[in-house]
Amino acid sequence: MTNTPALTADGLTKTYDELVALHPLELVIPSGQSVALIGHNGSGKSTFLRMVAGLLEPSGGDLEVHGFDLGDVEARATTSYLPDEPVLYDDLSLREHVEYISRLHGGDGFDDYAEEMCARLGLTDRVDDLPSRFSRGLRQKTAIVLAIARPFSLLLVDEPFVGLDQPGKAVLLDLLDEVHADGATTLVATHDPAYVDRVDRSIALRDGEVVFDGTATVDQVLALVGG
């Protein structure tokens, strides 16, 4: 799998009636790379991530995840998606969420790793509570646990810092570094220009088109997408 790119987009495009959300995109992301996806609101970052996650259907072009077509079981097995807005069951506790979602992905349920995640994000005392009664920030932390506690090799993260307090943000940054160090590919869409210092590669989008692809500094990012 290491020789196969984690992600290959060939002429990938998405349109809504007359609106072009993503112009034909050619992109290859090698396995194990950490990538920041930057751009204004409406630049196409979330659209691209949601297409890679399998939640949006491309209007044209091809998309492969680890060499598998989008939507294949193998592609789903390797891809974990952390959305900007947590989507959780109303009637399952945090522990039950982790247990069942991990099992759906062939994991071990609420194991030591999940317990450690909860501890690092300050959720240990809340594992038996319903996330539907959590604050926005705690729900976001729950979503982080769910995205990371399951097996994956490609992590898609959309605006991860929304609603997080400073300690939560620091833990998430550490976690992203750790999963990258473990060999996973990370693709993080963010408005935070400072994040580009932590990644191997930055891709800037503007109006659905790639305007920069490479290693960027914070100043370059600000020049590209404003700040």
Binding site: E57, V87, L104, H105
Partner: protein, 622 residues
Amino acid sequence: MTRAESIAALGDLRRARRRQRVAEIHWIDAMYQVYITGVIAVVALVFLSTFIGDGQVDADTAADVLRHGPAVCGLVAALAIFVGLRSGARGGPLALERPDVRHVLLSQVDRGVALRGPAWRQLRFALFVGVAVGAGLGQLALRRLPGNQAEWMATGALFGATVAMLAFGSALVASGVKLPSWVATFGGGALVAWSVADIAGRAPTAPGTIVGRLPLWPMDFDPLAVLGVVLAVALVAVGMRTVAGTSLESAERRTALVGQLRFAVTLQDLRTVLVLRRQLAQERPRSRPWVPARAGHARYPVLQRGVRSVMRWPLGRIGRIATLVVVAGLAFRGIWAGTTPLILVAGPALWLAALDAAEPLGQEVDHPGRTDTFPFERGLLFLQHLPLVFMVSGVVGLLTGVVALLPGPSAVPPGEALLVGVVASLLAACGAIVSIVQGAPEPVDNLAITTPEIAGTRTVFRTAWPPGLAVIGTLPLLAARGAFDRPVTETGATPMAAALLATLPMILLIVLVAAWARFYDRIHAFLRDAMEQASPTKAAERASAEREAREQAALEEVIASADAARKGDGDDAAGGSNAERTPKPKPKPKPKPKANPSPPAAGVQGGTSAKPIGRRRDQEPS
């Protein structure tokens, strides 16, 4: 992950969720819902029984039923397939939960396994409803038509189940194979059109008609009708096989909207239902208007805003209004030919069209936070929106009249057709205005707490009055028909004169509705105050406050007289009066004034913004 593991993991997930849900069920509420459903079902059955009557039809009518019944029932089956195909093309019929899409369908679990469970549950419910409604209608048919009770109920139930399966199966197949929306519309529409032509006797037997022979088995057994059942079962089977192909994009969009839609229906919030239905159908205003708007200062900005909204109508909305115009026009022809109950088709069709015409007004009602910031009453804003609603409805009415007067069977005379078309459409616009301005019922209703019977009647009135207005608008056509059927010497009026005479009260109704919209907020505030005055709790509170005030006044009077007496004694310098020795009674503390809600500041009446926070902050000393 193997199929067995998928099933086991999903089973565990569902069992855990069921445990949690069962623990949270309010059993009294659940039983109350069952009770209410039962009462509504009985009332509907009794109403329909009364409407249908119980005298056996004569041989000619029975022959008529046999001749046209299959095509009419076939139209129901064709409509079921049409609705199913359209729903499936938009990602239906499954209404999944959003977390299920995100966590289950994005996991390695076999999507067929994950989706078949909800599909079976939904089909089970659809079958239950189909069988219950079919058996009920069979029971009603029995009252007028020859045949055995068990046969009528059994065939009715079978037909109901078949229709449910046709709708559900077509939706599943359309969703699973990702049928394009236009194919679904044209394919389903062709079936419906064929059935309509079959009813009119202008087309060979439609496929729906074969299915439509099923419920008439007690009168004439046609084994060919079994094909309908076979087709329905086959559609469900194919749908279950292809369900894994359901688009996640459509499914996720549907998850959020269907939940909100159900909630809005529960709240009888028609406006929200309309908006959500449009979103579900992905009916969005055009980004470029049909006719570009002129830039510059507008003398009538509200009217201009409305015109811009109409100029952005998508093609789908125009098509829907055109269809409603045709339906209403054909219903006019039917009414003219003597089928009076068709006013119940023409009125609601025009009302639905008017709801689209009132979209700009609806947008204002949807955003009370914004209208609250305008430097004038909401009622004035509403009033300025009405001309456009009436203009668009007038055009719709004229087109309806044109459909009614076109040469052919049961054509309505041109003058009457155009007049009644416009009048009926304007009254339908009034109904739409009432629907939109009155909005959803308030969550806390004083009237409902004090008198549930009155509140129930009011709920029925709220729901039935707007389409009722539209039905009233068709009455001039009945007046014209009445005059047409009898010689002028007998009635003293030509059909046109009779229609014009019947139009006069309609004009008064239009003026009344416009005034109601203008003063809606004031009327509402007045009624709320009146309700509070009439409330027994409030009355008791007021009596208590008045009693305390009286006691306080009496006490102050005693103290004042004692003070006066003491002052008199002091003047006499005589040693020690009783008043001086008597300890001064401690004055009773004044009752705290009840917190009255402060009246809204000028310009913020109505709407839902409870506090003018910005203004209050501005008024604080810096």
